[in-house]
Symmetry: C2
Subunit: 364 residues, 2 copies
């Protein structure tokens, strides 16, 4: 099967690049999974064969992120967008407050959904700087009787990322959709972490939730069965049919991360890739203008503008022509964005930084 495989330089913001090795393995066993005579997709979710896939994926995530024993790992559906509602539905009551750090479009959406269930307020907002920075921990407002503090660890659209998290006495909840598994994280600081899989973990259609068990015990009960975290925790995410193929792919991606050396190797690679692009920006003498403040720069999404709009159009057109996929900024903000998730190879980042330099040379 391994003749020369044509691979795009894929900088999509999600769904995004997957490791070639993972795709090749999945392709090979696509029709006959481990001698069953069936595709993974055709296995019953109650079968022994699928059970191994499911539990292995959980075990690998627990290992890679050093998730403590008092946490549950759930595989849900609906993406982070459904979590925006499930979190207040489970953990907020009409008379209660919850604090939201507003660092971009996704935190704004999470904040808005919480209003249906209780009284969310802003812990901080960097909207007045066009979300170009993450607030200092000292800027964060929250109260001892808040239901929780919610943060968005990485802001895909604006290219900013939290470098550190507050150590607080109320539950800390994080949307880590776009940087989970990109660097080591101290899970014990969080009461709940959630992430859509389609950036660093696998294909779209799986949502990972890591939740401290004591939080589940205190959750609201009079809510729909499928939207109650405890329903899924009690049934090992098998209350109803899970997205089995997506969970299988997620497990294979986790195996790949373990195989290349785990979180230390991943973060090293991610830092190297991001440095290539940020250097191209910083050394351009203002030809490229980074959107994020330097101390808030994301390792995952590098956002920038070309100094004038006509040149930017030309830049994006030529980038496309050269085979760089997904480098237009999010449709809500424009500009340029290269997403450098785990599976984007060094070579792709190198080729793009070379392209940036060459484009500047010709047009600068």
């Amino acid at each position: 099967m391994s003749i020369q495989v044509k691979r795009a330089y894929n900088f999509n913001a999600g769904p995004s690049a997957l490791p070639l090795e993972v795709l090749e393995k999945a392709q090979q066993e696509f029709i006959d999974f481990r001698g069953t005579g069936m595709s993974v997709m055709e296995l019953s979710h109650r079968s022994k064969d699928y059970d191994e896939v499911h539990n292995q994926a959980k075990a690998s995530l627990k290992e890679l992120l050093s998730i403590p024993d008092d946490y549950e790992i759930l595989f849900l559906q609906g993406g982070a967008s459904l979590q925006f509602s499930m979190i207040p539905m489970n953990f907020l009551t009409p008379d209660q407050k919850a604090s939201y750090a507003i660092t971009g479009s996704w935190s704004e959406k999470a904040f808005k959904e919480a209003k249906l269930f209780g009284n969310p307020y802003e812990a901080a907002s960097t909207k007045d700087s066009n979300f170009s920075r993450i607030p200092q921990l000292s800027e964060l407002k929250y109260n001892a009787d808040d239901a929780y503090l919610h943060v968005t660890s990485n802001n895909t659209i604006f290219g900013t990322e939290w470098k550190d998290y507050p150590a607080i006495d109320i539950p800390l909840i994080a949307d880590m959709s776009s940087d989970i598994l990109s660097r080591p994280v101290d899970v014990s600081k969080f009461a709940l972490i959630y992430a859509g899989a389609q950036k660093n973990l696998g294909p779209s259609g799986v949502t990972v939730v890591i939740v401290r068990k004591d939080l589940l015990e205190k959750a609201n009960t009079n809510i729909p069965t499928m939207l109650k975290y405890s329903t899924h925790a009690e049934k090992n995410s098998l209350y109803n049919t899970p997205p089995t193929f997506g969970i299988y792919m997620l497990g294979e991606v986790l195996n790949w991360v373990k195989g290349i050396g785990g979180m230390n190797e991943i973060v090293k690679r991610n830092e190297e890739k991001a440095k290539l692009l940020y250097d191209a920006i910083d050394e351009s003498n203002g030809f490229y203008v980074g959107h994020a403040a330097k101390d808030s720069r994301s390792l995952m999404n590098v956002t920038f503008r070309v100094k004038d709009e006509e040149l930017e159009k030309k830049f994006l057109a030529e980038a496309k022509q050269e085979g760089f996929v997904g480098v237009n900024g999010h449709r809500s903000v424009g500009g340029c964005r290269a997403s450098l998730y785990n599976a984007v190879p060094f070579e792709a980042a190198k080729a793009f930084s070379d392209f940036m330099k060459q484009f500047q040379k010709v047009n600068g």
Copy 2:
């Protein structure tokens, strides 16, 4: 790639068999989809390439089920189980009633979820006959001011299936998870049809909803964004990242159905397969005992017992040994069940009916 492919006799109740041709095509283009240098899974859900996949799947479903223009087709997540909540959340108010025909475990679950949002009551229940039959249309109770009447078209666990539907003035809503696309259906009789994909449509992780547009206009508004049908209708099911690979597979399954001759051919095949097994039961002189009343028999799930329990254990053990997968009854009821969804080939049904006859010959 086509050496002899080992294929199991897959009678799983869902996730279940997929057409071999579809699996082979998906395997072939798994890493490089239409020359993009990316897997379908790696495409942005906002890209032109994915857009074609998405819209083609919708168009094929519209064509195959002759869905009228005043209906929306949605691709959601969460399975039928999440629909159990979304339906009353969108269409029922606390002071309103809704009528539920109780024909098995899934209708019971749907009924239970509706209690959170309004006043559901039983249109009919066949629980006292252990759900072995579908009620007569004349048995159904409902009122002109009910929000809707809810039915479960096919009862996977008990092996019963509605043969006809009432023509009523209130919205008729059907869970068609386990028999959608197995036979022609008059969509115009329904206000909303929903189905988890993992039986006749594709892999798990995609939920299809077919909803009449006027229903959306009357829906409740003060509910979470992701749980509002109109959110997804307004954005062509692209409000957030959809399960792209699942939708791609669904589209390929629909192409396969079109290729073999559409709904007329499908129902013919399904009737032939089911007849093989029901004949084996009916001609066994009581050795095999069908669960469903004859006029309520499902084409999709054939449920039966072997006349005594020891023999039944032996039957299931030998069936497993002979390579028949998934013929144990649902864990909640026991017995035997063979699911004969669209992708189960005639040969598999033939082999199983031969096995039933042979087993009876030896043990009868």
